[in-house]
């Protein structure tokens, strides 16, 4: 026992010493672009930012952003400092959540009756809380009470998730979904001259690249293993296929023969090794990793994720140039992923919480965030800032001047409005896989998919 005790004591002492040292050692990451009034606001700024009335004096509210700390901790602390100066007497506590487990933690906090006052959720999470009726109605709280503020938000993002036609979130940051990264090394090596612009050409292009490179490269891969997002239904919409009937009481995408054709094309790509077989099980992160490995020509994700390529393969990142994502026949430009802020209906300080959620999404605060990382503001007023109108030479900076016009006109495909969204996602994924693996014909799989979704819609 003696030796054990000695080892344990040594370990404990060492770790405590380290703890003390670390407490002094931790420092801020300095790389601020100090232009703009976000980092050093004036009294005028505070006055301009103060827009919500009836904020509770002495309120203490808790804020849960997810997957943003510690990378953006300085930024978040600055938001809080600015907010507390704008609404004196309100105290904000930052409780960052890691990406893993964030959703579980949010749900359990609601179950225990102790949710934070302002919670950051991915668009796909909002529905279940809205359905349960535990969130503040934003159409009333902002839309009716402050119509001018409502007008500032990108429509497609405001409507991204609704339950029975009502919005329960404030849109926060957006992903620019119209971008494609091209691996310049492969592009040069294969001596390519152009990349197709439509899906119709893209299918054959995949097999051509495969053949031309002697099996060394793929043109692109899919994140078909991703459960969330209902990607295939978005593809249908992009091809001009009606997903819903007119009163949105049922889905009808199976009635259009084009739908089955798309799945047949996918199956052809898969069977002929024109896309990696692991597309079947890859999610978005794995798709990006695959691209980073340097065997894939094209990556169709938002620019905010390009940093992952940079981290894992600087060589490939250095060679990247940008293109536009393939479009379907309908040439629809859809709003991409939306990060949201919600306020629990039972919040003790609803006005303070609302004020903070609005503050985080106001034009200045969001522009400052876009300076930190290539994500885009959900607030159209942000795009008047020279930062957006002028752009810059770096890869992702080129997109900024295009963003305002894009988001203004981007439409919401309404895909996340299904009741029992999670179950619908499982149905779509399961039937989709059945078609791709040849367990069913594409048409049969689509018919079954539609029938099962309609059963859920009918039960509503």
């Amino acid at each position: 026992m003696k030796r054990l005790m000695i080892v344990l004591v040594v370990l404990l002492v060492t770790s405590m010493v380290l703890g003390v040292v670390a407490a002094q050692e931790r420092e801020d990451r300095p790389n601020r672009d100090l232009t703009g009034n976000f980092w050093s606001p004036t009294a005028e700024d505070y006055a301009r930012w103060r827009v919500i009335d009836g904020v509770e004096e002495g309120a203490e509210i808790r804020f849960w952003p997810w997957a943003l700390t510690p990378d953006f901790e300085d930024y978040l602390n600055q938001i809080i400092a600015n907010f507390e100066a704008t609404y004196p007497g309100v105290n904000v506590i930052l409780e960052g959540q890691p990406a893993a487990g964030a959703r579980d933690n949010i749900r359990n906090s609601f179950a225990a009756g102790t949710p934070a006052d302002v919670i950051n959720m991915s668009d796909g999470w909002v529905a279940e809380f809205a359905e349960a009726g535990v969130l503040l109605n934003m159409d009333e709280a902002i839309g009716v009470a402050y119509p001018a503020l409502r007008e500032q938000y990108v429509d497609g993002a405001w409507e991204k998730v609704t339950f029975e036609g009502v919005t329960y979130h404030l849109p926060w940051y957006l992903a620019f979904s119209n971008v494609m990264a091209i691996n310049g090394l492969i592009y040069e090596e294969l001596g390519l001259e152009a990349i197709p612009t439509t899906w119709a050409e893209a299918y054959d292009f995949a097999c051509e690249v495969r053949e031309q490179s002697g099996g060394a490269y793929y043109a692109y891969s899919f994140p078909w293993g991703e459960l969330a997002g209902l990607g295939v239904l978005n593809t249908f919409i992009g091809e001009g296929i009606a997903v819903y009937n007119e009163d949105r009481s049922a889905v009808i995408f199976n009635e259009n023969p084009l739908s089955a054709e798309i799945l047949d094309q996918y199956k052809r790509l898969l069977d002929n090794d024109c896309v990696p077989r692991e597309s079947l099980t890859d999610d978005v992160r794995e798709m990006i990793d695959r691209f980073s490995e340097g065997e894939i020509l094209l990556l169709q994700t938002g620019p905010q994720l390009f940093r992952l390529v940079e981290e894992n393969n600087p060589e490939v990142f250095a060679s990247l140039f940008l293109g536009q994502q393939f479009v379907g026949a309908a040439n629809i430009r859809s709003i991409g992923g939306v990060q949201t802020l919600v306020v629990p209906a039972g919040s003790q300080f609803p006005n303070a919480a609302l004020a903070f959620a609005q503050f985080v999404t106001n034009p200045d605060t969001q522009t400052a965030f876009s300076r930190e990382v290539p994500i885009y503001s959900s607030n159209l007023a942000s795009y008047e800032d020279p930062f957006f109108t002028e752009g810059g030479p770096a890869l992702t900076d080129q997109l900024r001047p295009l963003a305002a016009e894009y988001f203004q006109n981007a439409v919401n495909t309404g895909i996340l409005d299904f009741p029992q969204l999670a179950e619908v996602e499982q149905i779509v994924l399961g039937e989709f896989q059945a078609a791709l693996l040849g367990v069913k014909t594409s048409q049969q799989a689509l018919d079954d998919m539609a029938a099962r979704i309609n059963a859920i819609l009918a039960a509503q």
């Binding site: 579980d104 359990n108 349960a132 293993g225 459960l227 692991e278």
Partner: protein, 296 residues
């Protein structure tokens, strides 16, 4: 007669006295939550709004649910991993129990998989199973042993087996420790005596080692079959939370997770848990009775 009863009574008090600390913790933090969970199985509960009593609805739905039966089937299929784990971990324990130079190092190495976090396991095996350039496929293709990559996770027929490999890999070192501890308690004199009687190595193991570590074998048999039936983490991480192509790796515990924590039907998940627990408990008690009876 009275003396005997007094002694019995005293022994009862002693017995329960020994168990008080453990059972007070267990009651508060396991038995009560367990009862609450069983109560939830009679409700509709989405975690966000209070539970609503629905009687036996969840149980009726369960027996008509094809995915429930598939989950049950896959969970029992997963039991195949148990004898493999036990055999390999006993063999390994015997080897590392030998007085060889540097054997500490090997014991430690073998235990590493058991302590590696499941996230890391997922990352690592993604690389191990990758096609065509992963560890296994890459080596086999390069050496010409196979022409086509093995579809470890991209074919519905192989997903469950691939995940089972991960479980076996994680389990061997873990159970090796238990067997090692047991082997340490088998007195060496027995082997010496057997050697004098002319028993060979193999016979020594059969007649001395195995009976000597019998309680541990029973323990591992019960524990590892329970955890095979309950397998969840490996499936979740290897299939990115989807349950595999066409739900091919959907075990009952994974289905419970999906219903409870993806679809937010906690009442239904609790019903699955209740039925699953009864089945597993009966299975385990029968298993235990059988193994312990053979002991005598």
């Amino acid at each position: 007669m009275r003396g005997k009863r007094r002694r019995q009574l005293r022994q009862h008090i002693m017995a329960y006295g020994f168990m008080v600390p453990a059972f007070s913790f267990l009651t508060i933090f396991l038995f009560i939550p367990l009862i609450v969970a069983v109560y939830l199985s009679f409700t509709r509960y989405n975690l966000l709004t209070p539970p609503e009593w629905v009687g036996l609805t969840n149980y009726e739905r369960l027996f008509a649910d094809p995915l429930f039966w598939r989950g049950l089937r896959n969970s029992f299929l997963y039991l195949i991993a148990t004898p493999i784990i036990i055999t390999l971990s006993i063999a390994l324990a015997i080897v590392v129990n030998r007085n060889l130079r540097g054997v500490y190092l090997f014991r430690t190495v073998y235990y590493i998989p058991a302590v590696t976090s499941v996230v890391a396991v997922g990352m690592i095996f993604e690389f191990v199973f990758a096609e065509p350039g992963g560890l296994i496929n890459g080596v086999l293709l390069a050496t010409g042993l196979i022409q086509q990559p093995i579809n470890f996770l991209t074919h519905p027929d192989s997903t469950l087996i691939s995940v089972m490999l991960v479980t076996i890999w994680r389990g061997i070192g873990f159970y090796m420790i238990i067997f090692l501890a047991a082997l340490q308690s088998v007195p060496e004199e027995l082997y010496e005596a057997a050697a004098i009687d002319g028993a060979n190595r193999w016979q020594q193991h059969l007649y001395i080692t195995v009976p000597g570590i019998r309680p541990s074998i029973i323990f591992v048999a019960i524990i590892s079959s329970i955890s095979a039936l309950k397998v969840f983490e490996e499936i979740w991480v290897m299939t990115d939370g989807t349950g595999g192509l066409l739900d091919s790796a959907l075990t009952l515990m994974f289905y419970l997770y999906r219903q409870g924590f993806v679809n937010l039907e906690l009442g239904y998940a609790a019903a699955i848990a209740a039925v699953f627990s009864v089945i597993t408990l009966v299975f385990s008690i029968l298993n235990l009775r059988y193994l312990e009876r053979n002991n005598d």
